[in-house]
């Protein structure tokens, strides 16, 4: 009797909890307005304040660019095109005149004018607690408004990077709203007002979602969608399901390769791949005053070891084909800055062994080579814990080196610990990644090889190789100031050659950015070398995306989601299904076996 009561009680409890949830509710009313829902699975959105975004707010950049504009914007290839500045010209190498558009308005209706630009730049100049923003105006001496729609910016030094790289990231903020703010970084900016293609509606707080509505008065023409929603996911598995079930229309920015089969097998979904703006590399600690293995300071050793690393094979091993081998320190997205004459080091173990022999590093009695001074060629090969998938590449490298008498010990190390080691120059070799942030240009990827970045501990700069070459340093300054793109390209290509000849790094590969898109509901995907959904140029996607206007299609999605999701059961891998079945079998078998054993014993407490 009591058993029955308990059973029914539990049943009623469960039903009352789940009943409201299981009644079907139409997921989306797609008829009107048209909403484009984007899923973002990388760095989250932490703030609505454009002056406070940091690199950990990658998700915030997308939103900021939708709400705010910049003087210069980036096109689908990352090249500068007019934004709030419709044209610009150099009066001399350090003075630039910007002609602003006349028809831009702030979301609250106020007209945009030169005052806002002057205010923005002066604000960034005056506030050193805005580290990222300040970076952009480091080279600015002053700014003045020539007339209501023209500004003049005076630079300190001639700078080739200013237009193309810095301006696409410097959000112009409205003077009439911000002039009363005293503490910039803690200002919540809960109702952002910009000139951008989308107006802010609401957000769910940190790391949830942002809801935006189209700005019909946008000076470049209104978007083709009515609403833009950006949702932040912490799991790519969840996002893959969400795009399959129609809950989101676009997902990115970087799906791991393991989820790609799920996406490609589903109908209605187009998988988009472009090279990402980052690359993985193998680093040698060549710092002369460091405490790593001193044999790495010998360029002959580094060159020999470079011939014992096959980056094409490693790209396959670690990324299953979803990475492109890279031979210079320039990510492949920057097509025109990559020196095409630099080929990968010839992968040849015999040649590598010979090079070490002729340099005087003979094989010792234990099979490991020894330097003339008696130092073994035995190295730590560290992999930061944030990129633990590179451990496989490390193991493969260690195996190759073993065949030429060099010992490498792969180990995964906490990223923070590795960072500390690098600053104190205690490392030998490691695999890590350089990834661009807000600034889109070649500069950053060349900057860590300057001698000024190789500081003795504990100062630390960006350098992890300890490279020190005065020619390289001079060329770096030259390319910074070379406003003629052809000349700049020559210089940059020369710099890459120097790095290659000195085997400073062994560049490994550039992973593909894999994104998913509901091509059955929308069209207008931008072409170009940048991934459509990226940190600073996603507006190209948001402005070109257009709904495929067949009403039949939209009602289908609202009434039965399972129909659209029909092909998805191939999704979760068969291993998962096998696992579930196995678990159920185990439970049944265990229950049967144990109950049979106990049949003879008294069951009730007497």
């Amino acid at each position: 009797m009591m058993r029955l009561a308990i059973f029914y009680l539990t049943l009623v409890l469960l039903l009352t909890i789940t009943a409201p949830a299981l009644t079907t509710v139409p997921l989306k009313a797609q008829a009107s307005p048209v909403t484009f829902t984007v899923g973002w699975g990388a760095a989250p959105m932490d703030t609505l304040n454009p002056t406070a975004v940091t690199l950990y707010d990658g998700g915030a950049y997308v939103v900021m660019h939708a709400i705010y504009d910049t003087l210069v914007m980036a096109d689908v290839n990352g090249n500068p095109i007019p934004g709030l500045a419709q044209s610009w010209s150099y009066s001399n190498s350090t003075t630039i005149i910007f002609n602003l558009v006349h028809n831009a308005t702030w979301h609250d209706g106020q007209p945009f004018a030169a005052d806002d630009v002057v205010y923005t730049v002066n604000t960034y100049l005056a506030h050193s607690e805005l580290p990222i923003m300040r970076l952009y105006v480091e080279n600015v001496k002053s700014i003045t408004a020539v007339d209501p729609y023209t500004v003049q910016i005076n630079l300190i030094n001639a700078d080739a990077t200013f237009i193309g790289e810095l301006l696409p990231a410097m959000y112009i903020i409205p003077k009439h709203i911000w002039q009363d703010i005293s503490n910039f970084t803690s200002y919540t900016n809960s109702n952002p007002v910009g000139t951008g293609p989308f107006k802010f509606v609401s957000w769910g707080g940190v790391n949830t979602y942002v809801q935006l509505v189209a700005n019909t008065n946008y000076f470049l023409g209104p978007p083709h969608i009515d609403q833009l929603v950006i949702r932040y996911f912490t799991s790519y598995n969840a996002m893959a399901l969400a795009v399959q079930s129609g809950e989101i229309d676009y997902a990115g920015p970087l799906f791991p390769p393991s989820i790609v089969p799920t996406l490609t097998s589903a109908t209605g979904i187009e998988v988009v791949t472009r090279p990402d703006q980052r690359y993985y590399y193998f680093c040698f600690n060549g710092y002369p005053q460091g405490s790593g293995n001193p044999t790495l300071r010998d360029v002959r050793v580094r060159l020999a070891l470079s011939h014992a690393i096959n980056n094409t094979e490693l790209a396959q091993v670690t990324w299953a084909g979803y990475a492109t081998p890279q031979n210079t320190v320039m990510p492949l997205t920057f097509a025109n800055w990559v020196n095409p004459n630099i080929k990968a080091y010839d992968f040849n173990l015999n040649e590598a062994a010979q090079m070490l022999d002729s340099a005087g590093y003979k094989v010792g009695s234990d099979g490991i080579r020894v330097s003339p001074n008696g130092v073994k060629l035995s190295y730590k090969l560290e992999v930061p814990s944030d990129y633990a998938e590179e451990y496989r590449a490390a193991q493969v490298i260690a195996n190759w080196w073993k065949q030429i008498g060099v010992e490498a010990t792969p180990q995964i190390v906490d990223t923070g610990t590795l960072g500390d080691e690098v600053v104190s120059w205690k490392h030998d070799t490691f695999i890590w990644v350089w990834s661009v942030g807000e600034i889109i240009g070649p500069d950053y990827f060349l900057s860590m090889f300057r001698s000024t970045e190789a500081q003795p501990a504990p100062n630390g700069g960006l350098s992890d190789s300890g490279f020190n070459n005065s020619m390289y340093d001079q060329l770096y300054v030259a390319q910074e100031q070379a406003t003629d793109p052809a000349q700049r390209q020559t210089i940059i290509w020369q710099m890459e050659q120097i790095l290659h000849d000195n085997a400073v790094y062994v560049p490994l590969y550039d992973p593909l950015a894999v994104q998913a898109f509901r091509s059955d509901k929308f069209t207008g995907l931008p072409s170009g070398s940048l991934p459509p959904l990226n940190q600073y140029a996603s507006n190209n996607l948001f402005l070109s995306i257009t709904p495929i206007s067949t009403p039949v299609q939209t009602t289908q999605t609202t009434t039965s989601v399972s129909t659209t999701a029909q092909p998805a059961p191939t999704g979760m891998s068969t291993e998962t299904i096998v696992g579930v079945v196995a678990v159920i079998i185990i439970i049944i078998v265990a229950a049967a076996a144990l109950s049979r054993r106990r049949k003879g014993e008294p069951t009730k407490a007497q």
Partner: protein
């Protein structure tokens, strides 16, 4: 009623433990390797100067004991500092996350405690029966499953076959009215709730069953049976009342810890609670957020245990006697 001495002892224990936790909390994060700013800005080409100024701004270049005094003063006055990532007050990040976690975990706790008690009691009463064996086996298997995997499987089944939302706490198209919002929240909660309940119930079942079996071996149970007391009274008034003490301890501990959020569940379902906050803060080495979050978790555990300590004398008057 419990005597004053007992209460005072427990209260002073609470204060001492809290102070120790504050100190340990501070020290723990200072001992971690890796300068948070260097890692935060590795991709932004931040100059050494900028890193130095940030260190100064957050007082990271002061001697350790100076930082400790500042930390104590700030914590006591409710100032948990500014997040490294957003440079906004940590409190502003913790409070909404706490609310979201509380919504999810209070529901999960209540369901799993009630279910755990009922199943555990039935399993103990019918020890050795098919019900006992299958219930114990099932809950144990579910309890030892990796939460992440369980969540993903449930998500797959729920989204494809039951049209439940994939992740997050709410939809934002087509929802209107308070009832609509509550229904929307419920729909978003089903999958993470199920994941948590399936995982949590196991431990309550086992503890309840074990405690009850233990009580069944006592002499007074035999006596009560001999006196002719009905099964129901035997189970509830004699068995349950004596077995509930270890359960209260476990419940108090779990309720306190659950404020830390179920990190795996929240990550799978993008539920913006404490677990997710802590996870992201760890990746970014955001010390102030971590300190604030860990402090909230430990203080909640301490308080929950104190409440449990206050409950024991009510359940069993023998507890306050030395």
């Amino acid at each position: 009623m419990a005597n004053v001495g007992y209460i005072v002892r427990k209260l002073s224990g609470l204060i001492v433990t809290t102070f120790f936790v504050l100190t340990f909390n501070f020290y723990l994060f200072r001992v971690l390797p890796g300068n948070p700013f260097r890692l935060l800005f590795r991709g932004a080409g931040l100059s050494a100067d900028a890193v130095r100024s940030l260190n100064a701004q957050f007082g990271l270049d002061e001697p350790l004991w100076v930082q400790y005094i500042i930390y104590l003063k700030n914590t006591v006055s409710g100032n948990f500092g500014l997040s490294f990532q957003t440079r906004a007050p940590v409190i502003g990040l913790i409070v909404p996350a706490l609310i979201n976690t509380a919504i999810l975990l209070s529901a999960a706790s209540v369901i799993s405690i009630v279910a755990g008690i009922l199943i555990g009691m039935l399993a103990a009463w019918r020890r050795g029966s098919k019900f006992d064996v299958s219930a114990s086996a099932t809950t144990l298997v579910l309890y030892s499953m990796p939460t992440f995997w369980l969540g993903l499987v449930l998500m797959f089944v729920g989204v494809i076959y039951f049209a439940l939302p994939v992740a997050g706490m709410r939809s934002f198209t087509g929802i209107s009215g308070i009832f609509g919002q509550l229904q929307d929240l419920a729909r978003h909660m089903v999958l993470p709730l199920l994941t948590l309940v399936l995982g949590l119930t196991g431990q309550y079942v086992l503890v309840m069953k074990g405690a009850l079996l233990d009580v069944f071996t006592e002499d007074f149970m035999v006596t009560a049976r001999a006196k002719g007391i009905s099964n129901r009274k035997l189970l509830w008034d004699h068995g349950f009342r004596n077995a509930v003490l270890p359960m209260v301890a476990l419940v108090a501990l779990n309720l306190g810890l659950s404020i830390g959020g179920a990190v795996q569940t929240e990550t799978v379902f993008s539920w913006p609670g404490m677990g997710l906050l802590i996870y992201r803060a760890i990746l970014a080495r955001d010390y102030p957020v971590l300190q604030g979050a860990f402090l909230v978790v430990t203080v909640t555990v301490i308080v929950a245990n104190f409440v449990a300590d206050m409950l024991y004398p009510l359940l069993d008057p023998r507890v306050t006697e030395q």
